[in-house]
């Protein structure tokens, strides 16, 4: 895997750890010229001038040299960018391009900028392509009842039916909300994978000695003017970025981290609240940890702070990485973390033993096995591991006694619980068959069924509680 970097000619000369930067005159207007100096590279970083190029033409040029446009990085050179900032930006984009793992045809969603009319008989508009999400059915937990992607999608492109997720490509306007909502990481957008984000952030924070500021941003909200020391991490929509990602980037070594708002992009998708919530969550966690909340400023341009940590995460920008980040933060904080916030991508499940019937539907549905049910001879145990909980709320959808308060999920980050691993949250007796000794059902569940059926079915219940499924037919 190798990367070639191309710059539209009047950019400054750049030396990037020995990587040649190809300056081409008129590159914005004639992107096909990259073929002249590609030299066998399969990943490309392009520095172009905003509004001087046609994205459809650039993507076509990349395809003509068999480079996947979705893995290529295109930067509109920000006005007034310093040479050192440009070098750092290029280092980040180059690493991001190298971390690209390829795409399937389903990931390419075409867009045509104009309407078709009689004029298009002579010149039809060229399509350009966005990276679209795709569901990996092997990883999808829909068969167990998970439908965590359905509600977050602002276009209603996901539908759960009979244990399958149906994805309507036509409705999808790729924003990535489904990607961060999916508890099993079954949904991916190939241009914005955790590995690519980690590679870009890692390169930026490792470049030079000066502290860097990072701003998660969508393509439409990118800043036309450079702000010294700040770099942009492009995602399909900032609504997909949970607050824990901002903290992860901070703990990887960034001095300051923030997320752009939809207003910056003049976007009508209506996800502005999500990016504001993410920033607010990060600031709340920092405050709870007795750290400076302005490490996550409300907007780019504030003073960049000194980094508070340089952590090598195992899997940053994933659900596991979120829990890991909170534990790192807890380790550098003078006090333990316990924050409840609507924007938390970590959750804490609590059970009310009075109303829980131990039916274990929650465990069966939990897509990350944060809740598990353990059956022994005459006991059933529900256990919970906070580090695996993504606050998806699927357990509350599955619970038949949720209205009686049997189960609750709090959007909460509790470092003690994250550290303590799996613990029992409810347990009870399992009735055993008087005939063969096999388990029948949890006692609270049979009690509840009896309560719902009423006194007139008391005899039936007596029978059902004393015989297992196999022995009922024999009596």
């Amino acid at each position: 895997m190798s990367t070639a970097v191309f710059v539209c000619a009047d950019s400054p000369d750049i030396l990037l750890d020995g990587v040649e930067v190809n300056a081409i005159e008129g590159l914005c207007e004639t992107p096909l010229r990259i073929a002249e100096q590609l030299g066998g590279a399969d990943r490309v970083v392009l520095l172009l001038h905003e509004s001087h190029y046609d994205l459809a033409d650039v993507q076509k040029a990349l395809r003509s040299v068999e480079v996947d446009p979705l893995g290529s990085q295109i930067l509109d050179v920000p006005l007034g960018i310093s040479e050192s900032d440009l070098e750092a930006t290029l280092a980040g984009l180059r690493q991001r391009a190298l971390a690209y793992a390829g795409s399937r045809p389903e990931h390419q969603k075409p867009t045509i900028p104009h309407v078709f009319n009689r004029r298009s008989l002579f010149r039809a508009p060229r399509p350009w392509y966005r990276a679209a999400p795709m569901v990996d059915e092997a990883k999808c937990a829909a068969v167990d009842g998970c439908q965590a992607c359905v509600e977050p999608c602002p276009q209603g492109a996901y539908r759960w039916q009979q244990g399958r997720i149906h994805f309507n490509r036509d409705l999808c306007e790729p924003c990535g909300m489904c990607v961060s909502a999916c508890p099993t990481e079954a949904i991916s957008i190939p241009s914005t994978t955790p590995k690519m984000l980690a590679a870009q952030v890692g390169a930026l924070v490792g470049h030079g000695d000066a502290p860097v500021g990072l701003r998660f941003v969508c393509r439409g909200a990118r800043s036309a003017e450079s702000v010294p020391g700040w770099h942009e991490i492009v995602v399909p929509c900032t609504g997909m970025v949970p607050g824990t990602w901002l903290l992860t980037a901070l703990l990887m070594g960034a001095g300051s981290v923030t997320a752009a708002s939809c207003a910056d992009a003049d976007c009508q998708r209506g996800l502005d609240e999500h990016s504001r919530t993410a920033v607010d969550l990060a600031r709340s966690v920092l405050t709870a940890a007795d750290l400076d909340p302005n490490l996550v400023p409300l907007q780019m341009g504030d003073v960049i702070r000194e980094p508070i940590a340089r952590t090598d995460f195992t899997a940053p920008f994933t659900h596991a990485g979120d829990a890991e980040a909170m534990l790192v933060l807890d380790s550098i904080s003078p006090k333990g973390l316990d924050v409840t916030h609507t924007g938390s991508s970590l959750g804490v499940v609590t059970i009310d033993p009075e109303s829980c019937t131990l039916c274990a539907q929650c465990a069966q549905t939990c897509p990350t096995t944060a809740i598990q049910a353990g059956f022994e001879e005459d006991t059933v145990t529900l256990s919970f591991n906070a580090a695996a909980c993504t606050n998806c709320g699927q357990c509350t959808i599955a619970c038949p006694e949720v209205e009686r308060g049997a189960i609750r999920v709090a959007a909460r980050i509790d470092s003690d619980l994250l550290r303590s691993g799996r613990r029992t949250i409810n347990e009870g007796v399992v009735l055993v068959c008087e005939s063969c000794g096999k388990p029948v059902a949890p006692e609270p569940m049979m009690d509840r069924i009896g309560e719902l059926l009423g006194e007139e079915f008391e005899d039936t219940m007596q029978f059902l509680t004393r015989r297992c499924m196999d022995c009922r037919g024999l009596t």
Binding site: R123, A124, P127
Partner: protein, 220 residues
């Protein structure tokens, strides 16, 4: 080079026909014609579409010597007798019906009914109506009608054909081609068939989105 709607419809028609021909039992004469078609299609600005690289990879196999390159044997192994016990039948009913334990006849009869409702009465008389080549040829025929309608400035006619194309792509090709593609890959066939099936997959997935975009974007 023009890139008007008629030209694009003709290009798409050509690709469907090309792919349908390449997926028939290999024949030296047919593959000579396909080699000539590659040359023609390469001049049709295919890189503007996402399937451009898949087309390039496929095109590089031509010209092909069917016997010397082992295509005749490779075809039978991949689609009929099997490679290491794995077969990937090139028929829709296998993926829609057989794999789910259903009855083929009803499915195939329904498909023939759809062809008739599109005004294509002859399909299915000599070839399997649900064979991949037949279905690609049906789409080629619809693109031909679309191109003619564009050429005649018959916007309503264009819309009508685009609806048929979209329906056929949604209800048939994009439903079974992805699992067919995955099964072919699992069979580890000759590189030509890998690249051919990659191109079919990339093309029909793109077609589904592209035809919808044209339909939505059309105004008088």
């Amino acid at each position: 080079m023009t890139t008007g709607s008629t030209d694009i419809a003709r290009t798409r028609q050509g690709i469907y026909r090309f792919l349908g021909g390449a997926l028939l039992p290999p024949d030296a004469k047919q593959f000579d014609l396909l080699a000539g078609a590659v040359e023609v299609m390469n001049d049709r600005d295919i890189d503007q579409f996402a399937f451009g690289p898949a087309w390039r990879r496929l095109g590089r196999h031509f010209p092909i010597d069917v016997a010397a390159d082992g295509l005749d044997v490779g075809y039978v192994q991949l689609f009929a007798s099997g490679i290491a016990g794995r077969v990937s039948p090139p028929t829709e009913s296998h993926y829609r019906v057989v794999m789910r334990g259903g009855e083929i006849a009803e499915f195939v009869a329904g498909l023939q009914g759809e062809y008739r409702s599109m005004g294509i009465a002859s399909v299915g008389e000599e070839e399997a109506p649900d064979h991949i080549s037949t279905e690609l040829e049906v789409m080629s025929h619809l693109c031909d009608r679309e191109a003619s309608a564009w050429g005649d400035d018959q916007i309503e006619g264009v819309k009508e054909v685009l609806d048929l194309e979209s329906q056929f792509l949604h209800q048939h090709l994009t439903v079974w081609i992805p699992p067919f593609h995955d099964l072919v890959h699992a069979c580890d066939p000759l590189p030509f068939y890998l690249d051919l099936v990659d191109m079919v997959h990339a093309f029909v997935v793109h077609e589904r989105d592209y035809v919808n975009l044209i339909r939505r974007g059309m105004v008088e």
